[in-house]
């Protein structure tokens, strides 16, 4: 699909979103919104699908306006193993780059700070990012080794983040749909661990473990409210995620500006109870996890729900278990 969007063609869609109670990306309040959170679910059998069209329809369904904004796409790029789908697929990221450019973003960059590997560029190389994402070398910023700026956060007067990250108007969490052997799941919210700079906090970013994984996920999402989630669930990971699990073709993409609602919807698609995931149930001040407060758009959950395998220690997370 080829999209040619200008302000005139985009405005009716954005207006529709506003009229239907959609909150814009930079309007998410710190308190619970009084309207339902829209989350779009789009089917995508595999990565040969028309990803640009799928992402476009999902983003538009949530009324996102990026015109003139500096957008930073944050994929889940951790480490590479040819035998299992650890990372957000590079074709998925490439489609997102193209989409946000066509939607009128002033700038589209890709930023990531892998938690385990020092050489972010090599991980990008191994994962196919440098080959499959046009202009990758020009738009990538290694969030582990950028200039940093201090902000107040994590109950500390100075907590450092990448200058390029803080310069973005919108952070798009291009997460991977995976189980996680500490947090239960890793989706759009947990993906923000990669925003923390390794050159200050190390590899792994051990300070987040000491501060508590769930509370750190929530704090990172509180610090970066100008965000939008696009979860790559086309090929997810079940079992011993986020690194050593097994690939599972879930065939779905989930999008929305309420990250809690998006991740809760992903959980339901994975047949995991979001109310049992600490960083979701304790993030009421950031968004909704309860289904009654989420307006599902696009495909129905029931049509795509597929039980992601859980390790024995996490069996209690199963929806309706």
């Amino acid at each position: 699909m080829s999209i040619t969007l200008d302000r005139r063609s985009a405005l009716p869609l954005i207006g529709l979103g506003v009229m239907s109670g959609v909150v814009g990306y930079n309007m998410r309040p710190d308190t619970i919104p009084t309207v339902l959170s829209p989350v779009s679910i789009m089917g995508a059998k595999d990565y040969s699908a028309d990803l640009l069209d799928i992402l476009y329809r999902g983003v538009m369904a949530c009324g996102l306006n990026v015109t003139g904004k500096r957008v930073l796409l944050k994929p889940n790029l951790v480490e590479y193993d040819p035998n299992t789908p650890i990372n957000t697929d590079p074709r998925f990221v490439a489609a997102a780059v193209e989409l946000f450019r066509k939607l009128g973003a002033a700038e589209v960059r890709i930023g990531e700070g892998p938690g385990h590997r020092r050489d972010s560029w090599a991980v990008a190389e191994e994962a196919g990012y440098r080959e499959l994402i046009p202009d990758f070398d020009k738009i990538f910023v290694d969030l582990n080794r950028d200039d940093v700026v201090a902000v107040q956060g994590f109950e500390e007067p100075e907590f450092f983040f990448s200058k390029s990250l803080l310069a973005a108007d919108l952070i798009v969490s291009l997460a991977k749909m995976k189980t996680h052997h500490w947090a239960g799941v890793t989706l759009s919210m947990k993906n923000f661990f990669g925003l923390v700079p390794g050159c200050v906090y190390g590899w792994p970013k051990n300070i987040l473990h000491y501060k508590g994984i769930d509370s750190s996920i929530i704090e990172l999402n509180r610090l970066f409210p100008n965000s939008f989630a696009i979860v790559d669930g086309i090929m997810g990971m079940e079992g011993n995620g986020p690194i050593q699990g097994t690939g599972l073709q879930a065939g779905v993409v989930v999008m929305g500006n309420d990250m809690v609602a998006v991740d809760s919807t992903c959980c339901r698609l994975m047949k995991i109870d979001p109310g049992k995931i600490g960083h979701l149930k304790n993030a009421q001040h950031l968004g909704y996890w309860a289904a009654t407060h989420i307006e599902q758009r696009g495909e129905r959950i029931e049509a795509y729900a597929k039980p992601f395998g859980l390790m024995k220690d996490f069996a209690h997370l199963r929806l309706d278990a």
Binding site: E79, D81, H116, R117, R118, D119, W121, A122, A124, E125, E126, R130, E131, D137, F140, D142, R145, D146, D147, V148, V149, A150, F160, H181, C199, V200, Y201, G202, W203, P204, N206, I207, H209, Y210, N240, Q244, M311, D313
Partner: protein, 299 residues
């Protein structure tokens, strides 16, 4: 398909790197991780080692000296004031320059008293739960990235090199032995090292090339037979890795262990113009194995 650049004539490749490094030096005397970025201790220390004897290295040293804290530790850069793992790297730099002055002694004292927080009560309580899923000996301590955090392979390796190089190595023998025990405990089943875990949730972790190299450097002086599987793993990683950073550390480590191998040819500059990798590539071709050499094991 790869985006890696084809190999260059060695002299050309080294000139390219020296010129790139020299051009990228910041007005404050330091280097960022990438051109045009603010100075950080780590790339500045590597560049100072790589350009040893040149005025650029002297300017870098003058900056780094100013970044030492009152407690002897070094900070990461002008903005990040906390004590930092790179203190070990500074001690290695000072040692290579024969600069065993008061600043060096103060840094050495700080480093020798630092350990991972595995021993704290709260951490022990957490580890009672984690013991089911993280299979390792939590009673031995390495060094953390930052005080108050757990031990990890990379900061432990740099700390061990610094302590072993010191003329006070004999005095630190017990701490060095514990650090070595930490590394040997965390060695993966494949012979190399991951970032610090060898087995999680009943599954073996795979070794990373850069941490395997650093751990091997830190374990200089151990019996060759004990390190044989790790050296074999490092040689295999050298052939397969696509990381310029990993290739340089592996080259330096294997040379430090006197292993016969064919070093990888250098191509164009590292992606993004990575200045830490550029400096280490120069070091790997020249003095790297000497800079990180440990003469003998303390007895």
């Amino acid at each position: 398909m790869t985006t890696e650049t084809p190999p260059l004539d060695l002299a050309h490749a080294l000139t390219l790197r020296r010129e790139h490094l020299t051009r990228a030096q910041n007005p404050d005397g330091g280097w960022g991780y990438f051109p045009g970025k603010e100075s950080w201790l780590e790339p500045t220390a590597y560049a100072a080692l790589a350009l040893h004897g040149q005025p650029a290295a002297q300017r870098a040293l003058e900056l780094l000296v100013r970044w030492q804290r009152e407690d002897g530790a070094w900070r990461a850069n002008a903005k990040v004031r906390d004590a930092y793992w790179g203190t070990a790297l500074m001690l290695t730099l000072f040692h290579s320059l024969g600069r065993h002055d008061a600043a060096y002694a103060k840094g050495l004292a700080w480093l020798s008293n630092l350990a991972g927080s595995e021993g704290s009560l709260s951490v022990r309580l957490v580890q009672r739960f984690q013991a089911r899923v993280v299979d390792q000996d939590e009673s031995v301590h390495g060094w953390p990235w930052r005080p108050g955090n757990s031990s990890w392979v990379e900061p432990t390796s740099h700390a061990l090199i610094a302590l072993k190089q010191s003329s006070r190595a004999r005095e630190f023998a017990a701490r060095i032995a514990e650090g070595e025990s930490y590394l040997l405990d965390r060695r993966c089943a494949d012979g190399g090292w991951n970032y610090g875990n060898r087995r999680v949730y009943y599954t073996n972790m795979s070794a990373f090339p850069e941490t395997t190299a650093l751990a091997l450097m830190a374990l200089q002086g151990r019996q060759a037979s004990e390190l044989k599987p790790s050296v074999e793993r490092a040689l295999a990683q050298l052939k397969s890795t696509r990381s310029g950073l990993a290739r340089t550390w592996l080259t330096i480590a294997l040379r430090a262990h006197g292993v016969a191998f064919t070093p990888p040819a250098l191509g164009g500059l590292a992606p993004g113009g990575d200045l830490a990798v550029t400096a280490l590539e120069l070091l790997a071709q020249d003095a790297g194995s000497r800079v990180f050499q440990v003469e003998k094991k303390p007895s």
